[in-house]
């Protein structure tokens, strides 16, 4: 099945008809909320979630009683029952989760949007709350020790060889990407530099007040060769919540709505959690290509129409690879596209990650990219792109992924 992807032949005729896609222009994001981003929140993940959701509800001008749906990351420790009880939500009509780590950020919006578009729920909250940096987990089993058996059979083929962290998994296909297309560490460095530059305008960013140069990137230590420390996002304590409702209801709410032009998700053949090493070709992101084809097909726009992109950027190589898969440049040209930073910074032809992204703002598993996309549409970003009309956001890579196009 991968041949179809390698030939870049999308079988649109097998997809549901575009006019049957009920989400386009019918659903909007009306509230965003977040906690501060830090390296030690000093409180529980449940409290972080409550604070962010409360902030989003206030931002939308709603009452907690209005909320009747929750979509969460499977990886999030806060489950719906705890949130209902802690937040005092009277009742939920829709709840569920999206799997695959950071790949879940945009899919939470997709599932919330399908719920709203089909009349299953009215106001749905999507959120991510984590204490990834301080490791202040909510609960642990007393006396439990680290398991020494790989937790499932697939990991069982990787862990015994010390191949057990996301950075190593991403480095494995980055090595191949650099080998096949001649991408260099300096080119990846420019991604890091530009995003850090963007974070200087965002007081909420973890790296606010700490700009870097390409030299800093090149001198930062190798973590997993070929990736350096400054190729990696920064583990963060924080939470972000987003409220989705119908376009109709959105009109009467407090904020200018960010309408959903399209939202899509996709897996691809032979996919695994960042360890899809058994595919015919591993230097590509087929999930992102499939998702992009679907995203632009139902939106009825092309990559040329996009004004700003908020990429999921856990590691620098993921940005050039996404630029290629989504059709912003040709395959193998993504790294050159980013070189020098001129084209991807605010003021350039395609500004990306205007708040600093996961590399420089905070790593809330992609939810902060979505809230920044909403701010760009509202025109309230601290690093505003003038007249931004269409903003694209993506979710975790190398896993089943998602994409979202918002419009004013």
């Amino acid at each position: 099945m991968l041949e179809e992807y390698l030939a870049r032949k999308y079988r649109s005729e097998t997809r549901p008809k575009a006019q049957d896609y009920l989400i386009k222009d019918k659903v909007a994001i009306v509230g965003i909320g977040q906690t501060e981003f830090s390296i030690d929140s000093g409180r529980s993940e449940l409290q972080m979630a409550c604070e962010a959701i409360k902030a989003a509800v206030d931002d939308a001008g709603l009452k907690m009683e209005d909320i009747d749906g929750i979509v969460k990351f499977t990886f999030d420790f806060n489950d719906e029952t705890s949130l209902v009880n802690a937040l005092g939500i009277p009742k939920l009509k829709f709840f569920g989760e999206c799997g695959w780590g950071g790949g879940a950020s945009v899919p939470t919006i997709l599932h919330a949007a399908t719920a709203v578009a089909t009349g299953v729920a009215d106001y749905v909250v999507c959120f991510r709350a984590l204490n990834e940096r301080s490791g202040r987990r909510y609960g642990y089993v007393p006396g439990a020790t680290l398991t020494t058996i790989a937790t499932n059979t697939h990991y069982g083929m990787n862990f015994p060889f010390g191949f057990m962290s996301p950075i190593a998994w991403v480095a494995m296909f980055t090595q191949r990407y650099m080998h096949e297309y001649g991408a260099t560490s300096e080119q990846l460095g420019w991604v890091s530099v530009v995003l850090r530059e963007h974070a200087q305008k965002n007081p909420n960013a973890l790296f606010y007040g700490k700009p870097i140069t390409l030299k800093d990137h090149q001198e930062s230590p190798m973590v997993v060769d070929p990736l350096r420390r400054m190729d990696c996002c920064v583990d963060t304590d924080g939470a972000v919540a987003i409220i989705v409702t119908s376009a109709e209801r959105a009109k009467n709410l407090k904020q200018k709505p960010a309408y959903i032009l399209s939202v899509a998700s996709s897996t691809a053949t032979d996919g695994e959690l960042m360890t899809s090493v058994y595919r015919k070709k591993i230097s590509l992101l087929p999930e992102t290509w499939y998702m992009g084809q679907e995203l632009f097909r139902v939106a009825g726009v092309t990559p040329k129409d996009i004004d700003v992109i908020e990429f999921y950027d856990a590691f620098t190589p993921l940005i050039p690879m996404q630029l290629e898969e989504l059709g912003f440049c040709n395959v193998g040209e993504g790294a050159a596209f980013c070189e020098g930073g001129k084209r991807i910074r605010v003021g350039g032809e395609l500004p990306i990650n205007t708040a600093g992204g996961s590399l420089s703002e905070a790593y809330i598993h992609g939810m902060n990219q979505i809230s920044e996309a909403v701010r760009q549409i509202r025109g309230t970003s601290t690093n505003q792109v003038k007249n931004a009309e269409l903003v694209l956001a993506t979710s975790g890579l190398g896993v089943p992924t998602g994409g979202l196009i918002l419009r004013r």
Partner: protein, 390 residues
């Protein structure tokens, strides 16, 4: 107002054998039942563009896709909460096809609960607990409240106290379920009916819960294919339309341990699911011909019948008494395949599949001219349900 009413249909079902030891992995069970469901529907593997699963299911959609050789999925999601999850998964599938995001969504559930050949999922790694799991482990096991029988027992005791129910009044539910299972060759208790005396003689595990009040853990897998009502017409099987699907969680909810709300003797989630189902479907409890009710613990069945509006509060045990209302030929035949008490415990998934068979007219214990079937799951926690029609 947008609605999901009649927008989607179940067009294929696939089932593995039910056993005490499958001698297969969960992913194996998943591949088997999913391929069977796809084939039954008259579809091909590459037609599948959506999958929804239970969060705790060790067989994940990516590994299944790698095994069966699918293309890509454009819609995938998860839900947790045991029996309350099963109809939630169908709701998720309905949303996906109704919103035009996917064509054909597979809903599946596998379990190796009996043989304990259970596989961990990606997220259940190093003893990390979700907030509600941590909450439960904080307050209940340290005082000896360890098993779900005990946890739900506190709720059942209160129900008995408030409505004057005696502990031998729940016995007719297991008797009828085993009666149905005795005629179902796929059931774990095939040809093993019980009498009310067997029930009364069965061990009290956790007073007031008897051994025969409890479901039986099994190994097995089940899958179904959900597609649009439009596409369903041209497929191989007679479509079973999903009139309504709903889920609910209400303030104060915990899995089996919702002890801190004003009244604990009821099932407010089931009540809300019922209201939503009947509102969306535009029918009343009187119109339902056959019901598949969550019977993980027998006393929860009369409670659900009350909350769903089949009888008044407190009258559930009387409704089930002697079994005449709830057996085949009665007013509301229940759990016609045997349910969790007779067929086996597959988290209410078998209840949904049985409801589909009833609507197709192919059940082993077929209710004559059944036109509407109701499924209720998740009693004692977040709940969900379905109304299916021919």
């Amino acid at each position: 107002m947008p609605t999901i009413k009649d927008k989607a249909a179940i067009v294929g079902i696939g089932v593995t054998d039910f056993s005490k030891d499958s001698k297969r992995t969960q992913i194996h069970l998943a591949c088997e039942c999913i391929l069977a469901a796809i084939k039954e529907a008259g579809l091909k593997v590459e037609d599948i563009d959506g999958m929804v699963k239970h969060t705790g299911d060790g067989a994940d959609e990516c590994r299944i896709l790698r095994s069966i050789g699918g293309r890509n999925l454009n819609y995938y999601g998860e839900c947790r909460y045991g029996t309350g999850g099963s109809s939630s998964l169908v709701l998720r599938a309905v949303m996906g096809v109704a919103a035009g995001v996917a064509n054909n969504v597979v809903v599946y559930w596998t379990a190796n609960d009996s043989s304990k050949r259970v596989e961990l999922t990606y997220h259940v790694g190093m003893y990390m607990l979700s907030t509600s799991e941590a909450e439960q482990l904080s307050f209940y096991p340290p005082v000896g409240l360890i098993t779900p029988e005990g946890q739900i027992g506190l709720i059942i005791r209160r129900y008995m106290h408030e409505f004057g129910v005696k502990d031998n009044q729940f016995g007719w539910v297991p008797v009828v379920c085993r009666e149905n299972a005795a005629k179902n060759p796929a059931a774990i208790f095939y040809k093993q009916p019980i009498t009310i005396d067997d029930y009364l003689k069965s061990d009290m595990i956790v007073d007031p819960i008897r051994a025969l009040d409890c479901h039986t853990k099994i190994d097995g897998g089940m899958a179904m294919v959900v597609t649009t009502a439009e596409r369903a017409k041209s497929l191989k099987q007679k479509p079973v339309y999903i009139m309504a699907a709903a889920q609910s969680a209400v303030q104060g909810v915990e899995m089996m341990t919702s002890y801190n709300r004003p009244v604990i003797s009821g099932l407010p989630e089931t009540s809300n699911v019922g209201k939503e189902l009947f509102r969306v479907a535009g029918v009343t409890p009187k119109d339902i011909n056959v019901a598949q009710i969550d019977d993980s613990y027998a006393p929860l069945v009369p409670m659900q019948l009350e909350e769903l509006g089949f009888c008044k509060r407190g009258e559930g045990p009387a409704f089930c008494d002697k079994g005449s209302n709830i057996r085949l030929g009665g007013k509301l035949p229940l759990n016609t395949s045997g349910g969790s008490l007779g067929e086996g415990y597959l988290y209410n998934m078998n209840h949904i599949v049985e409801a589909v068979r009833q609507m197709r007219g192919t059940a082993v214990n077929q209710v004559k001219n059944a036109e509407l079937a109701l499924v209720s799951g998740g009693a004692g926690g977040p709940a969900s349900g379905l109304i299916l029609r021919r």
